[in-house]
């Protein structure tokens, strides 16, 4: 089966005040359809930089990223924007909702950008908000929502254009444990029920436990990778990973 997204020897080097910073160093990665992959690492390990490369928000210094078999290096800025709009969905740590739009408006805007018609937008917005448990909060502005509710709206927005891949950058980073767990349950449900492919970046091993596969990142390189099957196996595996990390 062709992978949804693949990275082949990708590097990302930043020039900062004349100093080269290698945020991502020669990573090879492949994610299959329906897979939930967690990329775990401490702050500065390069996991967000890797996510931005996979999400066509940034260009690698070396190597290439492939989406559905197509190399992203050959795409123009506009084509990359189209890719992000129609085939990718983003969830950010700080939610990044548009403050002047209601919950429904934030979900709707992604479909507006994609040129979806009014009727279909209305139906799909209602469905998505219902799916994330916020049907009764559709008309509320982001400032009127709790952190967990905002993140759910952000997830609904990310799913608006039926993306092939959902990218989540520390989705529970600004949430308390219980609320974060609720969001992760939601994401897990998307994978199990809808076959949604998810790549999640996190520094939290507990959050990573919801994934099918965990990649351990450190200093821009993959240091470990493991599959998680069953709750018991997950605890043992993560404990090993955590011990290795320490």
């Amino acid at each position: 089966m062709e992978s949804i997204v693949a990275a082949k020897d990708v590097w990302r080097v930043y020039q900062m005040n004349g100093v080269s910073v290698e945020a991502v160093r020669g990573i090879d990665l492949s994610v299959e359809p329906g897979e939930f992959v967690a990329i775990v690492g401490p702050s500065g390990s390069g996991k967000s930089s890797l996510l931005h490369l996979l999400g066509a928000m940034d260009r690698p210094t070396k190597g290439d990223v492939f989406f559905g078999g197509q190399a992203l290096s050959g795409l123009s800025d506009g084509q990359r924007a189209d890719l992000r709009l129609r085939r990718l969905g983003f969830v950010f740590q700080t939610f990044n909702l548009l403050p002047t739009l209601s919950a429904a408006g934030n979900v709707d805007v992604a479909m507006r950008l994609a040129g979806v018609g009014h009727g279909e937008r209305k139906v799909r917005t209602a469905d998505l908000l219902s799916r994330v448990g916020l049907a009764d909060r559709a008309d509320h502005l982001p400032r009127e929502l709790s952190g967990g509710e905002r993140q759910r709206v952000a997830i609904a927005r990310a799913l608006a254009n039926k993306p092939s891949l959902l990218l989540a950058d520390e989705p529970t980073g600004n949430l308390d444990t219980q609320t974060g767990a609720g969001v992760l349950e939601l994401v897990r449900g998307l994978c199990d029920d809808d076959g949604q492919t998810v790549i999640m970046v996190t520094h939290d091993f507990r959050a990573a436990s919801y994934a099918d596969r965990v990649l351990l990142l450190r200093d821009g390189s993959v240091r470990g990778e493991t599959r998680l099957e069953g709750e018991q196996d997950t605890r043992e595996t993560l404990s090993r990973l955590l011990a290795a990390e320490l």
Binding site: A81, L85, N96, A158
Partner: protein, 385 residues
């Protein structure tokens, strides 16, 4: 995306309102200048209409650096010369006359006509000076030596402290002599607005000019004969200046050129002010919304979409300002002098220009901020660590 742009305008209501007011004031200034020019051009056209098919003969001004005035108070032609000119073949006698033109009050400003002036004209030949001008009340002819026909400005001037213009049947005092008002003209161009038209011999007696007049108006029987009559005048008396309608128009345009330039400059400044004003506000708006723009770019908005978003917001502000300018200007004009109907006429006749100005300003003002917005890197804007 238009909805998002308008929401952004609404979100910062105070700032948007102040911007709209600023645009309204600048557009209102533009309207005032345009109205002033339109009024001056209308005045000029009406003034020139009175000279259609006519020759205005007077002695040229001695100071060549000064622009020629029509009629000129300093001009003096002897009665003999006037009679000679009036005897030229091919003239419409009833529409030709010698006139004596003298100010009765000081002009309010250098170069502007006096508020009132005496125009002595041969009885029965009043149409030579009045031309197609319409009467407000009474008659345009002088039945006797004690009667006068007033321009609107003169009627108001002689109304005095009461503020009410002099009416037909009332009397006025001119240089110690009482005259009966037999007619009042409708509001007319500057030269005609302040006239006190009286019998020529009476004017000559009043001003101590028994043997001279200021100018001679010659009306040809047909337009085609104007050139021939002019040639004859120049041949008989080359020392005199014989001006046709075109000559007067050329002279007046020279006078107005400075006014037009000034008005154009003010209008240009108004447009530039609108553009800069809106541009500054939009640059601030873009700076404040870097993160929102970054989010839109991150979820897949193209650069063009961001550009349109900023342009629509800018256009909304400038159009709202232009729309507000119209009633604002009409309110000012009503309080200043003209009626609401006249003010509305100017607004309606300029609505396309105002609309284009608003669109030009809105789009022009959006270019720089929109360019800055599309340069926003989503990664930079979303950085939160």
């Amino acid at each position: 995306m238009y909805r998002l742009a308008l929401r952004n305008v609404w979100q910062h209501r105070v700032r948007s309102l102040l911007t709209i007011l600023g645009v309204a004031v600048a557009v209102q200034l533009y309207l005032s200048m345009t109205s002033m020019i339109a009024s001056a051009e209308s005045d000029l056209e009406r003034q020139l209409d009175t000279l259609a098919g006519k020759l205005f003969v007077q002695r040229p001004m001695t100071d060549e650096s000064m622009l020629e005035e029509f009629p000129s108070p300093s001009s003096s032609i002897s009665l003999e010369v006037a009679d000679e000119l009036l005897a030229i073949d091919g003239l419409d006698e009833s529409a030709s006359s010698a006139i004596l033109y003298l100010p009765l009050a000081k002009p309010p400003a250098p170069g502007s006509p006096p508020p009132t002036c005496a125009v002595g004209i041969e009885a029965g030949h009043e149409s030579a000076f009045l031309g197609p001008l319409q009467l407000e009340a009474g008659q345009g002819t002088l039945p006797d030596a004690d009667s006068v026909v007033l321009g609107q400005g003169a009627a108001e001037y002689y109304g005095g402290d009461s503020g009410e213009p002099v009416q037909v049947g009332q009397s006025i005092q001119v240089l110690g002599r009482s005259f009966r008002v037999v007619g009042v003209l409708q509001r007319a161009p500057a030269v005609h607005n302040g006239i006190v038209m009286m019998d020529l011999p009476v004017a000559q007696e009043l001003f101590g000019r028994p043997n001279s007049v200021s100018a001679v108006i010659l009306s040809a029987t047909s337009i085609e004969d104007v050139g021939r009559v002019k040639s004859q005048v120049e041949s008989l008396h080359p020392e005199l200046n014989a001006a046709t309608q075109e000559d007067v128009e050329e002279n007046v345009l020279e006078v107005y050129a400075t006014v037009y330039s000034l008005a154009d400059m003010v209008n240009t400044v108004a447009v530039v002010v609108v553009i800069l004003f809106v541009m500054i506000v939009m640059i601030i708006a873009v700076m404040e919304r870097r993160k929102d723009i970054g989010v839109l770019r991150a979820i897949g908005a193209r650069r063009w979409t961001i550009f349109v978003l900023i342009a629509v917001e800018s256009l909304a502000l400038s159009l709202a300002g232009a729309v507000l300018a119209a009633p604002l200007w009409m309110l000012i004009r009503v309080f200043v002098e003209v009626g609401i109907v006249s003010a509305a006429e100017v607004v309606l006749s300029n609505w396309i220009r105002i609309g284009l100005l608003a669109v030009l300003a809105g789009v022009g003002a959006s270019l720089l901020p929109a360019w800055r917005a599309v340069q926003v890197d989503p990664l930079e804007a979303l950085r939160y660590e």
